[in-house]
């Protein structure tokens, strides 16, 4: 637990893949089993069992740090989009994440103190006799689950933004690719039939820039292709 707090102290965040939290989670599962952990989580939401704790609002530096954590974490997978700018629109998620980290930090301190005061190594019996302490453990797990959900959802938001950007960037391609190919085919076909003819068509090609070729789209199927693309990318 001390190592989890060290991670929080250093990053103001808990990595989605945090090794320390994974160890903590595995140890609690091993020690208490899933049924007990589910009960701890249930008790954590019971105001008659969970001892009220006052959690201060996250400070601006704490919020900034978790935002930086998300930025660094997501930039690794989304190099081609402006992650920083997109996260600016997700203030509620970032504030709540900062708050969840704070809850974990505060409750680890309280839990460690409680466990230390029992003077026993038999944690199963100790927590059975002290459901309020077990509820602290349950609350820590709930807070981590909430954090993980935010991270997964933010990742989905970024994937959506990436698709939006791709649709915009590729729009022109959908409109000129086909006619360009068509002209290529005509050239090949005509040259095969009459080898010296390419020169004449060449003049036509020179006359028209890329934009003009785009005007030639207008062979069926282009927008259908675009729709297929959107269906595939946005709805996946």
């Amino acid at each position: 637990m001390v190592k989890i707090q060290a991670e929080i102290l250093s990053n103001s965040a808990i990595d989605y893949q945090s090794k320390e939290f994974k160890k903590f989670s595995a140890a609690t599962k091993e020690l208490f089993g899933n049924t007990s952990l589910d009960k701890f989580k249930k008790d954590a939401e019971d105001v008659s069992i969970f001892k009220r704790i006052t959690i201060a609002r996250s400070t601006a530096p704490e919020i900034k740090k978790i935002k930086e954590y998300y930025e660094t974490s997501f930039k690794r997978y989304h190099k081609d989009i402006d992650v920083k700018n997109i996260l600016k629109g997700e203030t509620a998620v970032i504030h709540d994440s900062a708050q969840d980290v704070k809850i974990i930090d505060e409750l680890i301190t309280r839990l460690a103190f409680s466990l230390g005061s029992f003077g026993t190594t038999d944690l199963t019996s100790a927590l059975s006799a002290n459901p309020d302490v077990a509820a602290d453990l349950g609350k820590i797990l709930l807070a981590k689950e909430a954090l993980e959900k935010h991270e997964r959802k933010l990742s989905a938001i970024l994937r959506f933004e990436k698709t939006k950007k791709e649709v915009n960037n590729n729009l022109a391609d959908f409109f000129w690719k086909n006619p360009t190919e068509w002209f290529g085919e005509v050239m090949k076909s005509t040259i095969t039939l009459k080898p010296n003819i390419g020169k004449t068509f060449g003049a036509c090609f020179k006359m028209a820039g890329k934009t003009t070729w785009s005007g030639l789209k207008l062979m069926g199927g282009t927008l259908a292709l675009l729709e297929t693309y959107i269906n595939k990318e946005i709805n996946k």
Partner: protein, 137 residues
Amino acid sequence: MNLSKLIELIQISFLPDKQKTQLIDHLEKRGADEGFVDVFNQYLADALETKRECYSTIMEQLKHLIKVIEDDMNGKQKELNYGVSQKLSEVDVTNFTAKNKIWDEYYEKLDTIQGDYSKKLKDSFSKLYLNLSQSGQ
């Protein structure tokens, strides 16, 4: 590549039907001679000129369309974000039952907004495609 391939390409081209028939007739009767190339080249040049502005207009229309749809989505997302902050401020930060409910609703609404964006985009492109087909573009 052969004559039938060239005929096929002319058939699927943007050229007016009358010109297509004329070119295909020429190919079938006389093959791809100099006369065919001259006429074909002239038809293409004319068509390029005619279509030049059409492309810009279509692209502008599309970009405008996407911007309108995106602006609408961004507005809704901003409103949603503000709404969730308000709701969260009214519950205890350690009450995960209440907070999870708020967040589940938030993410569900966000999915709906993104789904609407996708649907509007597809519908608009379909309409544009139909308009283009009907106008012979």
